[in-house]
Symmetry: C2
Subunit: 281 residues, 2 copies
């Protein structure tokens, strides 16, 4: 986060959680303004908003609606999970709506949510209903991008790794929401840091859209992304966070040029993916 | 939620998310006042606060600090999970502290957090550090209380069910935070609805404290709880949510008597557990 944005927020709101949150909002809006015409979606990470308490969460809400006002698709990366009735509350909060008295509110109003499927079908069912009724989506963690993801996810159940079993569940959960391009509302998270599994799962899960984190700062390169896409160049959305948001640091340009640096990095990333995968823009 | 509390909040704040959140706070404070001398801990469920947007999350924060002002232990049921660097943000948010400029803030300040271990060790490591440094705790989902928990959790890896493998990881993660009663800072969530697995895991995981949901409204009875405790009557904290919060409905008493009804139900639950398990109060 550029110092000048922080300092301005501290001048206005004191050294407080509110100031930190407001600084994030200023940063986010500048990034969105610089990127919305070349980037289809943003994936705000809930943790980095909760980190600043409810003021941070307020700013998450504002970031979502600002991005949507620029026609961006918003995926809240919350990795939420719980049992049926409680999962309904998360689903309503993040991609659905909530009744208060005789009125209806959309608390966060995101377009999609990442979720953790460890609890099985009744932790996912409440989301399916909202996905169907409101044209929303979810991405279920299958093979995550972190180094220790294999501790559980690579273990085999009757010869099938858990990440693949989770992927199979995504296919099943999604089977009555398949749209015109062959993909359902139920996607899977598969890390760019595991290109073999990415290719394997693309073949195994023909109706499951992938959200692919780990490109860039986490070490996943464009070479490994090829297998994420189908023969029409569809089937995956590749995420880069730090590499774009902190491009001004890597470039060594002026802090005040951070949004332009982010745009340059996003264009570079697009070229990189197009070059390696042979996909069109 | 009693109608009179809702209506009062609507009168004050209009029919808004803020009104819903404020009504929850009034409800919570009354429950805490009626229960703090007989109940050691509360487990606010993050989903039911997020459901009312950032106003709800603000009220979660206030609920946590109000309960702590009455010397209650607070477990935020957030089932958070992410990879290393991002998990640090969740850990700081919920049980740690955050630096803003030259100041330090505790955004939620809970005593413990429930987490999902699907991502493996580097999703848990950031929490271990905070648990050790600040005397906090976590509860990792092992065998959850919902009907479909078995879809993944009961599957076997080399003859070991996943819930037990997750429990084994809890023992490992906790091994250098074992306190004077033999339990570490790393607990496990094991549902009261699965008494066999509860007994099996109690024997298998001698240093892992259990958080046991599912008693009451979800159908878990006191009979099944016996196996959750060790020979000293330690090792588990049993959670009841709806049965206590909505006791006034079941009793059919006046709405305005909801807090007393909750106290009566909590006392009944305690008697029930003491009777069956032979534990002392």
């Amino acid at each position: 986060m550029p110092e000048y944005i922080k300092n301005k927020a501290f001048e206005k709101h004191g050294v407080t959680l509110k100031a930190a949150a407001e600084a994030i909002l200023v940063f986010n809006k500048s990034l969105i303004d610089a990127l919305f015409d070349i980037v289809p979606a943003i994936k705000p990470q809930a943790a980095y908003y909760e980190m600043y308490g409810w003021e941070g969460v307020r700013v998450l809400t504002e970031t979502i609606s600002y991005a949507q006002s620029k026609d961006m698709f918003v995926i809240t990366d919350g990795k939420r999970n719980d049992i049926g009735t409680t999962m309904e509350a998360y689903a309503a909060a993040h991609i659905g709506s909530v009744a208060v008295g005789d009125k209806k509110f959309t608390p966060f109003g995101s377009d999609a949510l990442t979720v953790n499927g460890y609890l099985g079908t009744d932790g996912i069912a409440p989301l399916l209903k909202i996905c169907k009724e409101n044209d929303k989506g979810i991405f279920v963690l299958a093979k995550t991008s972190n180094p220790s993801s294999g501790e559980l996810q690579d273990k085999c159940i009757d010869g099938t790794p858990i990440y693949a079993a989770m992927g199979d569940m995504c296919e099943k959960w999604g089977d009555d929401t398949i749209g015109e391009y062959g993909y359902s509302a139920i996607g899977a998270v598969v890390g760019a840091t595991y290109p073999e599994q990415l290719s394997e799962l693309r073949k195994r899960l023909p109706h499951t859209m992938f959200l692919v984190p780990g490109y860039g700062a986490q070490g996943g390169g464009a070479e490994g992304l090829k297998g994420a896409f189908d023969e029409n160049g569809l089937g995956a959305i590749v995420n880069s966070s730090r590499a774009i948001m902190c491009a001004y640091k890597k470039e060594g340009c002026a802090e005040t040029d951070f949004a332009n640096a982010a745009r340059r990095e996003a264009l570079r990333m697009r070229e990189d993916i197009v070059r390696v995968t042979g996909l069109s823009k």
